[in-house]
Each structure stands twice: as C-alpha cells, then as structure tokens.
Symmetry: C2
Subunit: 320 residues, 2 copies
C-alpha cells in the first residue's frame, strides 16, 4: 500500500484568478499525488492548496510550485487579513496513511533544503519539525510578518534553519513543518462589528483562558460584509467542532448576534465530522451509525453545523 | 481601614455534627475576624470554614483550631469522596482588602511554622506560597492522599517545607498556601451514573483539553442520590460561571441528562456573580446594572444559575 501524506502549502494570493491558476497549474496531473483542493479567499488574500499522495513525488512538485510563486508574487505589494511572512507562507506535511510523523519531518527538511538551495529563500522549521522550542508554534515565528521579518531575522535567536539571516527581497521567508491534521474552522457572525468577533474569540481561545487546543481571532470579511471568528483547532478529538460551534452560539447570544454559518478550510478527516454528528444525533435520542456513507456525513454536517461551501470532496477519505 | 484576608481551612469531618461544632467553636466570637460560614458535606466528609478579617488575629486562631482538630479526628478511620492528606487538609490565605499576595504568603508561612512547632505536623506550602514549582498545584502535593503520604513524604522531592519527613500518625500533613479567590463550584446532574459526570468533566476541564482555568471531576452524592460535576475555577474572570454552567448543559444534552441545580461552596466575591448575571441579562436584551443590591444579585443568581443552598451571606461583600 502506498504511503500517503497530506501537504498543505498556503500562498499569499487570493484575488487574482489568473495568477492563482498559473500557480496551481504546476501541481495538476502529476505522478504520485493528487491536487485535491485549492481554496482562494479574497479577504484573506491567500490560497490554501491541498495535496494528497506519495511524499517522494510531492517534495519536488512543491519545490517547483515555490519557484512559480516566486515568479508571480511580490510581497512588497501584497496585503490581506491573514498574517503571512512569505509568498508561500507555510508548507506543512501531515501523516495520513502508512507513514510516521518522523518520516514527515524528514520530508519537510528535504523540501526546505531544496527550496533554499534553489531559490535562496530562508526557511524556518516549525511544529513537529521545529529544531527549537520557540519555533514549535508557527505564530511565534510569523510574528512581525513579512514587513517585520527584515529586522527580526537578523536577531541571533531568529536565524533561519536553512539559509542566511536575510529575507528574500520579494518573497520573504517560509515556514516548513510537520504536524497532525489541524482543523481550520471559521464561524460566520451576522454583524460587521469586529469587536464582537474578538470578544467571542477571547472566550474560546486558549491564550485568553478558553479551550486548550483552540487558537482564535476576529476577522472582517469585506467581500462578504460580515465578521467571523477564525480558528485553528489543534486537536479535534479533545476540542470537537460541535463544542466550539455551540459555545460560539452561546457567546453570540449575549450580543444579540446570529451565527449564520461555519466553514472548514482545506480537507478534514471523516472522523472530525463523525465526532460532532454523534453529538447532535445523541441530543435527539437517535441511534448513530458511524459507518454512514461520506454522502450522508456531508448532508448531516451541513444540516447540523451549518457548513457553507462544503461537499464530500472536502473529506480526506473521499480522495484516497 | 483594616486589612482583610479570607482564610478557608478545610477539615476532614463532614458527618459527626458534635465533632464539627466542637471544632468550629474555637473560631467563634474571636477578636479581629469573623467566622462567616462553615459548610459540612456528608458525602465529601469534609467541612469548609470561611474566616474573614485581620490576618494578625487569624493566624493564632487557626493554630488553635488545628489543635482541636488534632484532638478529635484520627485519619486512620476517615474516608469520604473528597481527596485529603490531613485532618486539616488545606489552609489557604486569600487577599481581600488592603493587603498584597506577598503579605498573605508571609502570614501563611507564619501559620505553618507555628503549627509545626506546636504539634509536629509536617506542612507543604502551595500555590503562591509554594517554594518549588512542583508544589504550586495542590493536587500534585495531595496525590496519594493520607494513606500514600506515609511513603511519599520520605522521597527527597517531597520533603515537607516545615517539619520532618514523617507524617503525623493520626493527623497526616497540611497544605498551607496563599492564592487568589478560587470558586468551588458544583453542578448537579439528574442521574446516578458517575460515567456521565466523568465524561462531562473531561469535556470542560483543562487537563483533558477543556477550559484553561477549570479543574473538574465526577462525584456520586450518596445522601442526595445523584452525581455532580465538581469543580474548582481558578480564574473566574477568564472562565466565568455562566460559561461553565451552559457548557455543562450543552454536554449533558447528549446523554439526555437534566442539569437540575448548581452550588457554590464557601464564599465568593460579588463580582463572580455580576459577570455571569450580565450574560443572562444581555441575552434577553435587558439593561444590566452592576450596582444592584446584594439581595437582587442573590435573587437573580438563584434564578439564572439554578443555585441551591444559596443566600446573600455567601457573598463576601455582605460580611465586610
């Protein structure tokens, strides 16, 4: 059986369709892996790409992809709601099938070395691939973003893991890492008041006293005309989506604000949804069959979790 | 203006009324402080005493009280639902008015030294008064309880802060500390299934991925015939009661279990309730006046948080 990793490069363009298509083009119809999904967000000005397949083939394709991004994006003219430190901002490797985290760390380092050798872009290794404790959490590395990195990278404690202490003038730097599946989850609020989204984010995120594995912040989506609470769930087994969704509804009630929808960015394991659907079935006293089809999982997830822009293809298992 | 601390000794008897009365008797009608409350719990087999006043006077009274407990309780014959390591289990000092945490640490040490000098009971200093990082959290110290402490205390890393590495044969050991107000909060479930209470406790407590400042566990209350989720809230500003109450209701729903009541053990600052009442008022779109009287606070707290065994005297401000 083939070894499978998920690789999720994020690049800093979410508006110019032509550029986005030209960039993802280099990842299409390649041997050994599939480009299963790419999602551009205009407000974030960022595109999240999901690759699934044999890491041996993914490494070289990601190096090629980085070259294309280098050609088309100049960070000196880029801005958006999502924090970023490079034209390709992060490249995480995630073990899915028949592969260990340790092997993913090896592939992450191989990717980092090849990118740096070829394009002289400095690389920081993060999460499970971090070489220092202060680099485990991506936000620590990214703090200051592209604009601040020019000076930050000169500090001895922020010397990059690959490359010199000098950002690439148009590209910036990249974070390359290995990690368990992370759920990028956003909840829409029917208001344009960012303060409300911020107050709710504070109620649920770890750094302000909330759930242990939740990072959250407010964002205003100009194109859509409302705010959302944007989150990373670092451990969906301990902090299941339904609990976060219901807690956000509980908090929103005090501001008389309606929770309209929620969305998942990128692919997620089926188990993420199973754990939340079980909750809603049990609340109604219904039997729950965790062997239900992916189509049923999709239908119920949309029904109970108010997902928008969701379909079966966003479940990892539908792509294997 | 007088300096005021709250001192909350917990002792390991909650059933024998005569013994309990004889013990608290030594704290009644003393100069410089008030015995404002004592609550005996039969299932826990534990009594929580609340003193409020000038620490100068409280120190000596607590030493005398410890002598009375030593006379009346033999831990070799004590058992109950609450973990405990001594006949007096803990003595925390809490700054309330015109006094710093540092001063409370000094009074805690004075108390510990006097008790050890007089009765040869070994003392561990905890929370803000801890001398070692591993002793900040009381459960670390208490692990193994009275029965296990005989051996544990002989390990070099568990040498007591006052006294020899030998437990008192009938009394055990005491934890003496200084800390911010801690909310001991319990939620009643209409079931006798401890597994349900445990599953809910795991959903909300920090150690299993829940709220950052919540410790929680299950307990079966034999006398009352139902289980409860029993909690310490270490920071009620960041983890307000209403959020915990509503989250427990959310989780209980999946087990088709009703949340009947909740209770606060010991005294609490008015602000604890204000922060939660504001939530319920705002949810209903009502104006909230945080200057409402203590009687109103009490009435609404019972109404919205389903408190049982609650009255105005449990609010610290009503005793100052």
């Amino acid at each position: 059986m083939a070894r499978i990793v998920q690789c999720v490069p994020n690049f800093s363009e979410g508006r110019d369709i032509q550029k986005i298509e030209a960039i993802v083009e280099v990842l299409k119809n390649k041997e050994g892996f599939k480009l299963v999904n790419y999602e551009a967000d205009k407000d974030y000005n960022r595109t999240v790409v999901t690759l699934l397949g044999d890491p041996k083939y993914i490494v070289d394709a990601v190096v090629e992809f980085t070259g294309k991004v280098l050609e088309l994006i100049d960070m000196n003219f880029q801005s958006g709601e999502h924090p970023r430190m490079g034209a390709v901002d992060v490249i995480p490797f995630i073990p899915i099938e028949d592969i260990t985290m340790e092997e993913c760390v090896v592939y992450a380092n191989e990717t980092a070395k090849k990118i740096n050798d070829k394009y002289a872009i400095p690389i920081f290794m993060y999460a499970e691939a971090a070489n220092e404790k202060t680099r485990v959490k991506l936000p620590n590395i990214r703090k200051g973003e592209f604009e601040g990195m020019k000076e930050k990278i000169k500090e001895p404690k922020w010397k990059p893991d690959y490359g010199n202490a000098l950002i690439h003038p148009t590209f910036g730097v990249i974070g390359v890492g290995a990690r368990i599946p992370l759920i990028a989850y956003n909840i829409d609020l029917k208001t344009d008041n960012t303060k409300t989204a911020n107050a709710i984010a504070k109620a649920i995120r770890f750094s302000s006293g909330g759930f242990r594995h939740v990072q959250a912040g407010p964002v205003y989506l100009e194109q859509r005309g409302h705010v959302q609470v944007t989150m990373n769930i670092l451990d969906y087994k301990k902090n299941p989506i339904y609990r976060i969704f219901e807690t956000v509804k509980m908090e929103a009630a005090r501001y008389q604000v309606k929770v309209t929808n929620s969305e998942l960015v990128g692919l997620i394991p089926k188990d993420t949804l199973i754990r939340s659907l079980r909750y809603y079935f049990k609340c109604q006293g219904l039997d729950f069959n965790k062997e239900m089809s992916l189509e049923e999982v999709t239908k119920y997830a949309i029904q109970y979790l108010s997902f928008r822009d969701f379909d079966t293809l966003k479940i990892i298992e539908s792509n294997i």
